[in-house]
């Protein structure tokens, strides 16, 4: 079951929205509606699902309805029509008490301009959500301190927000949201007010935190680079309509329409594509048991000049070159172990192409993609990196 499901969601601004809604459903354009009835379209028939534990980015320019849609998810803005189903419950029809309960326990939010209370200390700000739930003073202080430590603000608990930099203030905003233990985190342009360096730092940290927290995050941004960087999936909005929903690679490779492709045209692909996206399956490898002759044969079959050697559990042991293998055969050796070399490059699957590029240019061997246990996941040779940058299908190379 998806965590959040948005079905046929509409938001019409202005008076008598229901009357305008019919016209919108019949396909009236935004400008036409504004001229006729004075109503504005905030969201026009949005449909998408958000899976548990993913970072779902909603991207669009200003006025595209992205801020409206995120505010519908906790009913800061009342949708005009449609359903928002969270953990199987329809948010749009639940009563006031239930709504308060959901806002307190299930959904939390981080704001673009931090929205901290200037008369409270950092810790008191972080404890705000817990205070609203009438948690005891000691308990909420403890939780607030914990959350602040998590976002790297240890030692600033008793400062006031005005004494902190923008990036640190947003960390307080994040800590305030994390302190309530809600499993859905709404982030409304959370990093847009920060300068580029701090912004990148915050993005990295959010992803690091997310790796351990596994929250369901809905992240709003107007910046495609940011969307591609942190999003597991991205929804692109234009004039209230969700134009495309897909993974970053999807969006780049198969833009749904011209609007999306004008966005993606200028994207630096090396930043988006990861090693995992371009690596080849490790089809040509040998195990230690296979011996030198087998290694030489496989290299000949594949017309390659070196081959990776793995254990039975697919752990990477090393690399053997064709020259050393032939030399060894001449000497009558059969054991691979003595031939293994280690001075090739290893990388993790989520390394970006941008980082791989200089390695690929320098190295004379293929790059091994390994996981944390040193298990061989894939192989990258220079040509696959270049093909990835050019945006071509690897199989065609």
């Amino acid at each position: 079951m998806p965590k959040v499901e948005v079905k046929n969601l509409y938001k019409i601004y202005g008076s008598k929205p229901l009357k305008a809604l019919d016209m919108v459903k019949n396909g009236i354009s935004k400008d036409e509606l504004l001229g006729k009835t004075g109503n504005g379209i905030g969201i026009n028939n949005a449909n998408f699902v958000i899976e548990e534990g993913e970072i779902f980015v909603i991207m669009g320019l200003s006025g595209s309805g992205k801020s409206t849609i995120i505010r519908c998810l906790n009913r800061l803005i009342e949708p005009t029509a449609g359903e928002i189903i969270i953990d199987g419950e329809n948010l749009c029809t639940c009563n006031k008490d239930k709504l308060l309960e959901i806002r307190r326990k299930k959904i939390t939010m981080v704001f673009q301009h931090f929205a901290l209370l200037p008369h409270r200390t950092v810790a008191e700000n972080a404890a705000f959500g817990l205070e609203i739930q009438n948690m005891s003073k000691e308990q909420r202080k403890e939780k607030a301190y914990e959350a602040l430590a998590m976002v790297g603000l240890k030692g600033y608990e008793e400062s006031y927000p005005s004494e902190l930099s923008g990036g640190m203030q947003q960390r307080v905003g994040l800590a305030r949201a994390l302190a309530t233990d809600a499993d859905i985190l709404l982030m409304d342009e959370a990093f847009s007010a920060l300068d580029p360096l701090i912004r990148k730092e915050m993005q990295d940290e959010l992803m690091e935190l997310q790796a351990s927290m596994k929250k369901t995050i809905v992240f709003i941004t107007h910046d495609l680079d940011e969307a591609l960087k942190i999003g597991d999936r991205i929804a692109i909005m234009k004039e209230g309509v969700v134009v495309q929903v897909g993974t970053p690679e999807d969006i780049l490779d198969n833009p749904a329409d011209e609007y999306v492709s004008t966005f993606t045209k200028d994207v630096n692909r090396t930043k988006v594509l990861s090693a995992a996206a371009v690596m080849k399956k490790p089809d040509y490898v040998v195990t230690r048991k296979d011996g030198i002759h087998m290694a030489v044969r496989k290299m000949k079959d594949a017309s390659i000049s070196s081959i990776f050697v793995i254990s039975k559990e697919k752990m990477l042991l090393g690399l053997v070159t064709i020259d050393s293998a032939i030399e060894a055969i001449k000497k009558g050796e059969t054991e691979l172990t003595s031939l293994l070399i280690q001075d090739f490059d290893r990388t993790s699957p989520d390394t970006s192409l941008e980082e791989l590029l200089p390695i690929a240019i320098r190295t004379k061997y293929p790059i091994a993609v390994v996981d944390e246990q040193n298990k061989l996941l894939g192989i990258i040779v220079r040509v696959t990196v270049l093909a990835g940058i050019a945006g071509e299908e690897i199989e065609n190379v």
């Binding site: 505010r71 906790n74 800061l76 308060l100 309960e101 959901i102 806002r103 307190r104 959904i107 939390t108 939010m109 704001f111 673009q112 301009h113 929205a115 901290l116 209370l117 200037p118 008369h119 705000f128 959500g129 205070e131 609203i132 739930q133 006031y160 005005s162 004494e163 305030r176 309530t180 709404l186």
Partner: protein
């Protein structure tokens, strides 16, 4: 030409109220007088120098050395002009009137901040209360409460209340939208919102309103000497009516000193709060 007899209608209204609301007005008058007179008794029972010391201490702790010296010198001057008793009379009247104006005004301000219709209705009434020449309040006040301090206090409350209502309203409405959104998104009820977010953030503005209300109270209390509210206003009034320029000047100076001290004291309450936040 047709002349709308607006004055006659108002006359009629006042008389009607006088006839039918006598017990109510008497009740208000008695309880009000009780407060004013007891406050006066207490303040006059204290030796004058003790009161001066209290003001110096207040000035010192709320603001600093400067205000402490100003309060000390100012009050000593008033004492030496032999206007102490009149000053205390004025002080207790200002206190009572301000207190009542705030008790009514702050909740009213909160209400109109949260309710747009109420704001539309109350705003013009506030305009009316503020722009109507202050003397006009004195006449019905006298008719309902007779001569003396109580009608003075009532006229003062009406005249001095608008600023605190307006500024409470303004302060609450000026709380940034995203802070409100944040509070809602964490599940605040509207009471929690008011107590934990809106009032604290509006406090500097509300304190400005309180300061303005105190200042207006003081000016009105002086005017209400015309209906027998006594105090410093009477000294000034006598000076004017009996052509004793010197005496009138002394009364005027005492009012000014007193006003400055009250103004600086109440202003520094707001400032000391903000300073703590930044420190």
């Amino acid at each position: 030409m047709f002349r709308l007899p607006l004055g006659d209608y108002f006359d009629y209204l006042v008389h009607w109220l006088q006839d039918h609301g006598e017990t109510v007005f008497d009740g208000i008058k008695d309880s009000g007088m009780w407060v004013i007179e007891h406050l006066e008794d207490i303040l006059l029972f204290l030796p004058w120098w003790l009161l001066v010391i209290i003001f110096i201490a207040l000035g010192y702790f709320l603001s600093g050395k400067k205000l402490a010296i100003l309060s000390g010198l100012g009050l000593c001057l008033i004492y030496s002009l032999d206007l102490w008793e009149e000053t205390i009379e004025t002080l207790s009247l200002v206190f009572t009137a301000t207190f009542l104006a705030l008790i009514i005004g702050i909740p009213l301000g909160i209400w109109i901040a949260k309710n747009n219709t109420a704001e539309k209705i109350i705003q013009p009434i506030l305009d009316f209360m503020q722009t109507m020449p202050a003397f006009v309040y004195l006449i019905p006040a006298v008719m309902f409460f007779g001569l003396g301090k109580m009608p003075g206090a009532i006229a003062t409350i009406i005249f001095a209340m608008p600023p605190v209502v307006r500024l409470t309203n303004l302060g609450i409405r000026q709380v940034p939208e995203d802070v409100i959104e944040a509070a809602v998104s964490f599940g605040s009820t509207s009471d929690q919102m008011l107590i934990k977010v809106q009032l604290p953030l509006a406090m500097p503005t509300i304190l400005t309103g309180i300061n303005q209300t105190i200042m207006l109270s003081l000016s009105m209390v002086v005017i209400s000497a015309m209906i027998g509210a006594r105090g410093l206003g009477e000294v000034v009034l006598n000076g004017v009516t009996q052509m004793q320029i010197g005496k009138g000047f002394e009364g005027g100076i005492a009012v000014v000193i007193f006003a400055i001290i009250l103004d600086r004291l109440t202003q520094s309450i707001g400032k000391s709060k903000t300073r703590k936040r930044k420190a």
